[in-house]
């Protein structure tokens, strides 16, 4: 019986998946925002979630770090049912970058220190330097966030998520609020950072061309349901028909 309980808790049947959803659903006021989605993601994989506006892409993403509660189904993070993981620890391991980079008042360094401080850790200066170098903001640690452009703010948001040393990175349309130049720069940066840190990444995007450039797999969502998942070439015609 103890063995069964241990197996249930650690869900070790599919350990190759870093992130796995199991019949994940969220229903609010009778509306199925996310409807029975089961997928698995391997280490270093980049999954683009595409679909029309209102299809449930962001709702799906918010379930992955438990910002919203599934009404049924669950998520496994590195083989463990995420309901067994303390929400704070889960969110440290599954970092998130949102469409609007909400930065805390203060300097760039203050923002980078925020996550580790929640675990009682002080982020070393050399780590701050390394992270800012990664996102192309070297020597800007002491800049006040009020002086940042949209693209720079999004870079800080990315570095801030990385400061928690996550294994999974969740990106919610991270370039949709940026101009074309900044969009291309942040996109290249995401690819570089994901590769350098061997992150498993889920990115919500409404831009099919961007999804094709960044993702190793694409998942098409329609009315909360998984319509199709596969390689870019396998899925793109389905995604294009929805747009």
């Amino acid at each position: 019986m103890e063995l069964n309980m241990a197996l249930e808790q650690s869900h070790i049947t599919e350990t190759r998946f870093v992130l796995e959803t199991d019949h994940l659903s969220r229903v609010v006021s009778g509306k199925r925002l996310v409807d029975d989605i089961t997928i698995g993601m391997q280490k270093g994989e980049v999954l683009a979630v595409v679909g029309q506006s209102g299809s449930g892409k962001s709702s799906f993403l918010r379930l992955l770090n438990r910002l919203d509660e599934p009404t049924s189904g669950t998520v496994y993070l590195e083989g463990t049912d995420y309901r067994q993981i303390a929400p704070r620890e889960l969110r440290r391991r599954a970092g998130m970058v949102t469409q609007t980079p909400y930065l805390f008042p203060g300097t760039i360094a203050d923002n980078l220190r925020f996550g580790p401080r929640q675990q009682g850790k002080d982020l070393p200066q050399d780590t701050i330097t390394f992270l800012l170098d990664q996102v192309g903001l070297a020597d800007r640690a002491n800049s006040d966030i009020v002086n940042l452009s949209g693209g720079e703010a999004q870079r800080v948001s990315l570095a801030r998520a990385l400061a928690n040393s996550p294994t999974v990175l969740l990106l919610d349309e991270p370039t949709s609020a940026l101009d074309e130049k900044a969009k291309k720069e942040v996109e290249a940066l995401i690819l570089k950072v994901v590769k350098q840190n061997a992150l498993t990444c889920v990115m919500v995007s409404h831009d099919l061309a961007q999804a094709a450039r960044i993702a190793s797999r694409v998942m098409v969502v329609k009315a909360g349901r998984l319509e199709k998942i596969g390689s870019v070439t396998e899925v793109m015609h389905v995604a294009a028909s929805l747009h």
């Binding site: 609010v28 006021s29 509306k31 925002l33 506006s53 209102g54 299809s55 449930g56 892409k57 962001s58 709702s59 918010r62 770090n65 438990r66 910002l67 919203d68 509660e69 929400p87 704070r88 620890e89 969110r91 440290r92 970092g95 998130m96 949102t98 609007t100 909400y102 805390f104 925020f114 996550g115 929640q118 675990q119 801030r160 998520a161 928690n164 349309e173 919500v204 409404h206 909360g224």
Partner: protein, 270 residues
């Protein structure tokens, strides 16, 4: 002038009420001439005011012949009514009536109990009920202000709060700046009352004490005592209210429950 015409106190009260009603109606007519229409609201307010205060006056007549402990029931009923009124200020957060009841009950109740035991508030009904009601009323206002402000702060800083949660912050850490702002703001009226005491306003209680023949120096000091009791009750209410409502604003999985309409995932999906 009215005192000369009316020797009976009840008749005098009626005449005085009629005089101020005429004054209010005059102001209302002046506003009407400027195309500002307050007739309906003013008349309803006048009618409610006279009926409610006459009702409480009648209850007092009954209470004067009742044992002192009956005043406690009246104060308890006032706390429940205050909680029901105040809870409407934080719709969207579950359990606001309970939060308001605990906060006002513990905030005003503790101060009333302690001060009555210490003899600062006289335990007779005529003293306990009016003074107790002042503390409850002010605790209610503070509670309404803190709930309203906290809800506004959370709604307008929703993105930052969720970002903090997404970075692994505890819910209490994520809302800490807004808890502090709400607490400070809710106590502004009580603190300013104490600051301006004697300088900008002289409480009606002092006039009552002077009319009743109290020593003017003692009457003045007792105003400070009363307003300080109000500040204590309000501060305690605000503290309990914000700690409880902060807890109610989040689920056990540290998900924010209180959401602005635009950000609510209930109606919006992308």
């Amino acid at each position: 002038m009215l005192q000369r015409v009316f020797t009976n106190q009840l008749a005098l009260g009626g005449a005085e009420a009629a005089a101020v009603t005429l004054l209010v109606l005059l102001v209302m007519l002046l506003a009407r001439k400027r195309e500002i229409h307050l007739e309906r609201e003013t008349i309803v307010a006048l009618a409610r005011g006279i009926v409610q205060i006459s009702a409480i006056g009648s209850i007092f007549i009954l209470l004067l012949r009742s044992p002192a402990w009956t005043g406690m029931f009246l104060l308890a009923a006032m706390i429940v009514a205050a909680a029901a009124i105040s809870a409407q200020r934080a719709q969207g957060i579950p359990g606001t009536f309970r939060v308001s009841l605990y906060a006002i009950g513990a905030g005003a109740g503790t101060v009333i109990a302690l001060m009555t035991l210490a003899g600062v508030i006289d335990s007779t009904i005529v003293s306990l009920v009016p003074l107790g009601s002042m503390l409850i009323y002010n605790a209610m206002n503070t509670n309404s202000l803190i709930l309203n402000r906290f809800r506004g702060e959370v709604e307008s800083h929703f993105g930052l709060i969720e970002t903090a949660l997404a970075l692994g912050a505890a819910s209490k850490q994520a809302v800490a700046p807004y808890v502090e702002v709400s607490f400070r703001t809710s106590l502004i009226p009580a603190v300013d009352s104490l600051k301006s005491l004697g300088l900008v306003w002289i409480p009606g209680l002092m006039a009552g004490m002077l009319l009743a023949g109290s020593d003017p120096a003692y009457a003045a000091i007792y105003q400070f005592v009363t307003i300080s009791m109000i500040l204590s009750a309000s501060g305690l209410t605000a503290l309990i209210s914000i700690l409880l409502i902060r807890k109610h604003a989040f689920s056990t999985a540290e998900q924010i429950i209180l959401r602005p309409q635009a950000a609510s995932s209930q109606g919006k999906t992308t």
